[in-house]
Subunit: 564 residues, 2 copies
């Protein structure tokens, strides 16, 4: 039956995976809470579990849980290697090749500017001062410079997409240009990086052969492979079980492609990324398949991988201000100026052009992976790796904020941000609309520190001008209040229903009392629209009136549109 | 940075996982095609890749791909161990504890009968003739007998559920009683098995302690743990990202619980199963979360696990007619008679009672896992393991067929079974309904080997009695034909639309010409209902009229209701 793990090793593996996953998810969520990238929390989880924090307090426990030698170390390394390849497969699936062609000239000039300038700056700097930037003893000056230039030029498609979505401009012309340019940068960057790995020559055969095979493989996967996959998918849908057939197909192709690129001397992640691009490009790939792979990999495999990075390195000890600032400055200048000039050249107006430049400077998990591979190949030292990690963590925030300023954006406000347990009446006893308004006004006033009487009369006054039942058992009494800092919503659920004179004649069972600042024109409209959109869904409303607590109500809102 | 895998090992791991997954999925689909359990194909994939087939032709390739010693063997064993635990987590999530209480007396008597009789028979047989049944040298007679009795008494909830769904009686009273009884059997069986593993004493501490801790842990998870999870889920939905929060929560709990049970000397799968039960029982768990975990695990992890079983053993060499027949006979008698008598005692009518008995005798992947653990613990030999695998593979088919006979069931016929590329007109040129019918009649007649003229006139005659446009751009001209063996459907897509006098006045763009055997009353109605249900969906219809080939049309039908 072959060599097997000892029971004790199996115990360790389950505990270390469980602890790593739990810590990564919890700190990932915390990071998200403070508007930081999830990956920051995930890496932090590894740091906390590693030698610096818990390892210092309970070294034996941590050595038992995450041994550095032996079977368990090997198995965990294997799992993490597979996890990172699957993460790149998913990242590749998000690349939309056709988007690049659709966006035309501006996408081309932006991607060219965002690629050439940082590459040139990085190459020059690394050639002039390789030691300052932390080239490793014995690593080739040319290869090191190539790597440094590539690390600054590559973009982080998934992170850029998420920032654009947060800013609500993902589907705008500007968003599409940025995405298209990032797709091109990613593909080119990874190709160059594959060549660098070929130059390092870990594979079999000469460097020239490795590079030739790499480029040939990439070309084959992106043309013939892409076409074959596109042709195969309908056949698989028609003749295999759903979605098992296509899931197995995508994962098996990704694993085999990863194995192939690792074999030719380029890292497995490159093959996985390429195959992901080829698979994701097919219009026959169903959204459901994408969702399953994406969510399982992003929420299970990716946290494990990033936490394991945190475990492996002592980030504080390796942090170097000089190298970090150099990376941030050279990379930032190259990307922002390059991308911005490219956009101006492509005919984009000035403010938008600079916003595009900032968008191109958003880095992320891709650069961390790139840096890790370079570190493992002995090309760079730990301080440079840490600098790259810092760049990946800092740029989304800084550049996102800069874009918001430049484009003068505001996020549409959503209902769930303005609710609180104190302003939630699960079982509203009121019988008339006036009573309901007075009850909810009391809760809202207490939450916001306002005078109960004046709130109630403001809302009642508004109600007198025209009833606020909007139909389908929902009513939205509201008022604008002087001196209010931010909107407040009190929610009441009435079992018997209250007449709010709705157009459909139905009594209101969900009543949202909405107070907004006097001078904030948008807030009222945006929150009203959010209420109408969500509670217009019959199944959702049916569940909403049956919740047993404020937490359940919030849970429902936050998981819309899934009501299962 | 700790011990890491060599590049060569990483290459092997990706290739072996890719090959194993691809082979398992392909053969799994083939098995499904011939109405066999998927797991049969998955195990077969391992056998084909193993020493018996490809290993005999290219021993070096297979030894390279699936080495039995060294780092790669350890990593693959680690991955498979995690895969099996996750598979049991999912199996546990499918257990619906409350179903047992809802079904009342009959569920109790059935589960009692289906548990006690096979257990008693197995215990007796194993005590009388342990050597004949393949007890391993040195294994305790009592423990062996306990194991044999348990392996025969446990049921395979997921497989039973799938057979009931295939027979279309999952939601019937009978189906619910069977499921409830199987839930009870599974839980009891796993508890007994955990005790057996405790008796084998792989863990730390004495046997009595192990058993006590096991039972205590199970009780704690199923009561306090279940309650805590149920209370936590809304909070996670409300405060963590969706669905990442709950995915990480479920997987981390499953891994930790698996680690704990492995640590106390019971196998990891038991802990995963228990935690799955506790998580799956919460009504706050959303369908979407279930789907992601279920599909990723069933279609990626499970095939890897079952194929690895096929790889490890030489099934042909270990096959023993005597032991296999003994297992099938003793197990079958116990389950069928026990379950049947239990049902009669619970007040179920005779034919239904025996159908329930057969349903209780459906075994599956759970028994294979149980057998594997017993084999690895040195309790049973390979012939007994193979006999258990055969039982798991044979019983779903035989018992499903017996139930169909006893309940006189027929599956509702679905449109997709009666289509063919030859009877598909992607671009129907006809302008009038008469022309369309004649065109499609020609295709249908050619496919079924009928006379074109008589088919056309039969359908036209029916059409004359009343038009067959059913609205929403769909028309279903049809006729019953003498001597036809099974239904034939010809499909035409008309770009311009053809007037079929539909109630909504819209022209038909999708025309289904439906021929059914003269004496088959159900066929016409069932296929018509299937057409109406699927093509009543606007988004689905919109995609259907735009397909470019028959394969794409079939792909669409087979992946309904997902149109993404």
């Amino acid at each position: 039956m072959g060599e097997r793990l000892a029971t004790q090793d199996v115990v360790t593996i389950f505990f270390s995976l469980g602890v790593l996953l739990a810590a990564a998810r919890v700190l990932g969520e915390c990071a998200r809470r403070f508007n930081q990238p999830t990956v920051l929390g995930e890496i932090l989880a590894g740091v906390v579990l590693g030698p610096t924090v818990i390892g210092a307090a309970a070294p034996e426990l941590i050595q038992w849980l995450f041994p550095r030698q032996g079977s368990v170390a090997l198995v965990l390394d294997g799992l993490v290697t597979v996890a990172i390849a699957l993460f790149l497969l998913v990242a590749g699936m998000e690349v939309d090749l056709s988007a690049f062609w659709r966006q035309g000239r501006a996408a081309f000039t932006v991607s060219l500017g965002g690629l050439v300038l940082p590459f040139a700056l990085g190459l020059t700097a690394a050639f002039i001062a390789p030691e300052v930037l932390g080239r490793q003893e014995g690593a080739s000056r040319a290869v090191f410079a190539l790597f440094f230039a590539t690390a600054l030029s590559i973009s982080a498609l998934p992170v850029i997409a998420r920032v654009l979505m947060d800013l609500n401009i993902y589907r705008s012309d500007l968003g599409m240009i940025v995405i298209a340019a990032a797709v091109f940068n990613d593909l080119t960057g990874w190709m160059i990086f594959a060549v660098i790995l070929g130059l390092l020559g870990a594979g079999s055969g000469s460097v020239a052969t490795t590079i030739l095979v790499t480029v040939g493989f990439a070309a084959a996967v992106l043309t013939v492979g892409r076409w074959l996959i596109h042709r195969s998918l309908p056949w698989i849908h028609a003749h295999a079980s759903w979605p098992g057939g296509v899931l197995g197909f995508a994962l098996a192709l990704g694993l085999l492609s990863a194995g192939f690129t690792e074999w030719i001397g380029v890292h497995a992640v490159f093959g996985a990324f390429l195959m992901g691009t080829a698979i994701g490009d097919s219009s026959h790939l169903r959204e459901h398949t994408r969702t399953i792979i994406h969510q399982f990999v992003s929420f299970i495999f990716a946290p494990l991988f990033f936490a394991s990075i945190g475990l492996r390195f002592d980030f504080l000890a390796s942090f170097d201000w000089g190298i970090t600032l150099a990376v941030l400055l050279i990379g930032g200048t190259g990307k922002i100026v390059g991308g911005g000039l490219g956009a101006l050249w492509g005919g984009i107006a000035r403010r938008e052009a600079w916003a595009i430049g900032f968008a191109m400077n958003i880095h992320g998990a891709m650069e961390i992976i790139l840096g890790l591979l370079a570190l493992q190949s002995g090309l760079i030292g730990q301080p440079m790796f840490v600098a790259i990690v810092v760049m990946a963590l800092v740029t989304p925030l800084v550049c996102g904020a800069a874009m918001r300023q430049l484009l003068r954006l505001k996020n549409p406000r959503r209902l769930d941000r303005f609710l609180s347990a104190k302003a939630f009446a699960q079982d509203l006893k009121a019988v008339t609309s006036g009573e309901a308004i007075r009850d909810l006004a009391r809760l809202a006033a207490a939450t916001a520190g306002l005078d109960e009487q004046s709130v109630a009369s403001a809302v009642l006054e508004r109600e007198a001008q025209g009833a606020t039942g909007i139909g389908e058992n929902v009513a939205v009494p509201h008022a604008r209040i002087d001196g209010l800092k931010q909107p407040v919503v009190a929610v009441g659920i009435s079992e018997g229903g209250i007449d709010f004179d709705a157009p459909d004649g139905e009594p209101a069972r969900l009543i949202f009392l909405l107070l907004t600042p006097r001078d904030d024109d948008g807030a009222q409209l945006e929150i009203l629209a959010d209420i109408a959109r969500k509670f217009g869904d019959d199944a959702f409303r049916a569940r909403a009136v049956q919740v047993n607590s404020f937490t359940e109500f919030l849970a429902l809102l936050r998981t819309f549109p899934e009501q299962g």
